[in-house]
Symmetry: C2
Subunit: 348 residues, 2 copies
């Protein structure tokens, strides 16, 4: 058992000491609520129906501290949970977190992680109200989030004839991961010294899509109001997540690859990577973690939904149609594309 | 990256395959609810105030598969979360779980883990409604649980003159851990062949206290109704958890070690262990994970509370008194005892 004598390491700080430090950072609870420091938090209930979701991020699987800071990890774990709430057409309420720390983790790292969580929580109107800490051999952060919703938009409501729509652009987060792993972007890039200002800018934007994803919260409630028949957030790649929708809805789909909005910065990445062929369209179809929303809309609602999202500054692209049967992206079966998506247990 | 080709290993089953298997085990959702299989679960809200808690169990820190089965781990992670709700005087609602699995974990292990979770969930009237799975180098299970409460009993309401009371008996779970680690109890004991039937029975009961803890749910709501001024569940040992109460309440305490209810089976353990001195009273004062409730009660409420708990078949012991200042157990400072309790970051 590793016990450090460095007071800046969490093992010396101890569980209660670290919890007290976290409680102080979290700040005083909202009126009539009890946050960190008791057996359970007490919070205002979200309304008659409660959304309840959880997402876990594990070191070396979901992030790597070689390129992600504690702040990045904290931001992202909140963002991905809010994204799940957004994909139901709901609004986030309170969050609790679990944290597995290596005994030699620095207290300053935990501070940064918490700063990222708190910043993201503030961004989307949620609050961290409690949690649990344990030791472990690898870092992991889990967040559970409750939220409110009136009419949840599920994955199972897609109807033949509906348009398949996505917000924003795709592939950027996967491109950012490539750039970060190659040290073309992010902390202390060693490969980017000869890059032009434009190329550096593109690579850093891609890296930000990987490290600091944005939950499409306003877009989710807007699409729900606009009549989305089904919705999902794109966490594991378009092919994988679309397959989940058509599977749950018992329908088919036909996607036009040419209509899929490809992140504009991927062209710069593809030009800068010379030892490997990077196809921006393939990244857009299979790359995970963009956290854009995919929804299906009756044809007559497309114009309205597009206008509403336009007011939020977000594009909405029709990338295909729900069919009775057959599942394809371009000339290939959806399943062929799906195999290239991300699976957290297989790691591919 | 480890990718197994054994179809019974989770890496070959894949994330969606395993989630579908889990969804099937979880069963159909309650009316007007949506459980596993969408971005977020949708559940009935618990009432105007929501309890929200989370607890994490990590392999080698909180359990060891050398002596704990998947079923044990699943049971315990639900029980400890329910215990947190009970310690507020509340009732559990729905739960979500996070699971970190080694790629070579067997699907049968996940099945057993889930069976344990579902059995405990049924025991205390909660339900598992969703979750997230990831790979990792060590097994961990986190559960977040919401619940309902009208008047939460916090840690901070203890008043000088209140009696300090505990339910049931203490030290059993710590004794069980000793018996399990020495292979005197549990799966395939190698040390117990010469033990008497009585001794075997005592050791197995201690092991059960460690592996299959019971949340004092009915007791928690009864003590809240009986007028408990503060309450906490004994997860990290009497000394550590009592210190949390007196710290939060800004009061002192005086505990009589002779009044602390010591698990009766510890005497048998102490007699069977010959190479180490095991003091049942020390285990009762410092051993963690009994998940009994510690509460403070005005003197005039003790009789009523004792009778109410008696109807539930649970004893209530007055072990000391809340004072204005000074914190002691017997002749020693509480802090001296606290240092022998459990800390999840220090591992001692």
């Amino acid at each position: 058992l590793f016990v450090s004598t460095d007071p800046q390491k969490v093992s010396e700080f101890g569980e209660d000491g670290l919890m007290a430090r976290i409680a102080q950072r979290i700040g005083p609870p909202a009126r009539d609520e009890i946050w960190s420091g008791d057996d359970s938090a007490v919070v205002r209930s979200p309304g008659p129906r409660t959304l309840f979701t959880t997402d876990l991020m594990v070191e070396h699987v979901d992030f790597d501290l070689a390129y992600a800071s504690g702040y990045d990890v904290g931001w992202k774990v909140i963002a991905v949970n809010v994204s799940d709430i957004a994909a139901m057409g709901g609004r986030p309420g309170r969050a609790v977190a679990t944290l597995t720390l290596r005994p030699d983790a620095m207290v300053s790292f935990v501070d940064a992680l918490l700063d990222g969580m708190l910043a993201a929580a503030e961004e989307w109107g949620t609050a961290l109200v409690g949690g649990d800490i344990s030791r472990g051999s690898e870092l992991s952060v889990g967040v559970a989030l409750i939220g409110e919703v009136t009419d949840p938009v599920t994955r199972s409501g897609a109807q033949p004839g509906n348009a398949i729509c996505v917000t924003g652009s795709l592939g950027g987060a996967a491109g950012g991961l490539i750039a970060l792993r190659r040290r073309m972007a992010g902390p202390g890039p060693t490969e980017g010294h000869g890059f032009s200002v434009d190329l550096k800018g593109a690579l850093e934007r891609l890296a930000a899509r990987q490290l600091r994803p944005r939950a499409r919260l306003e877009e989710g409630t807007a699409l729900a109001r606009a009549g989305a028949t089904s919705m999902i957030d794109l966490s594991d790649g378009l092919a994988v997540d679309l397959a989940r929708v058509v599977e749950a809805s018992g329908v088919g789909c036909r996607v036009e690859p040419g209509d899929v909005p490809v992140d504009e910065d991927l062209a710069a990445l593809a030009s800068a990577v010379t030892d490997e062929s990077i196809d921006p369209v393939v990244l857009a179809l299979t790359g995970g973690e963009d956290f854009e929303l995919l929804c299906t809309l009756p044809r007559e609602r497309i114009e309205d939904a597009t206008a509403t999202l336009g007011e939020l500054g977000t594009s909405l692209s029709v990338i295909g149609w729900i069919t009775d049967e057959g599942r394809s992206i371009g000339n290939a079966e959806l399943d062929r594309w799906r195999e290239r998506g991300w699976d957290h247990l297989r790691g591919r």
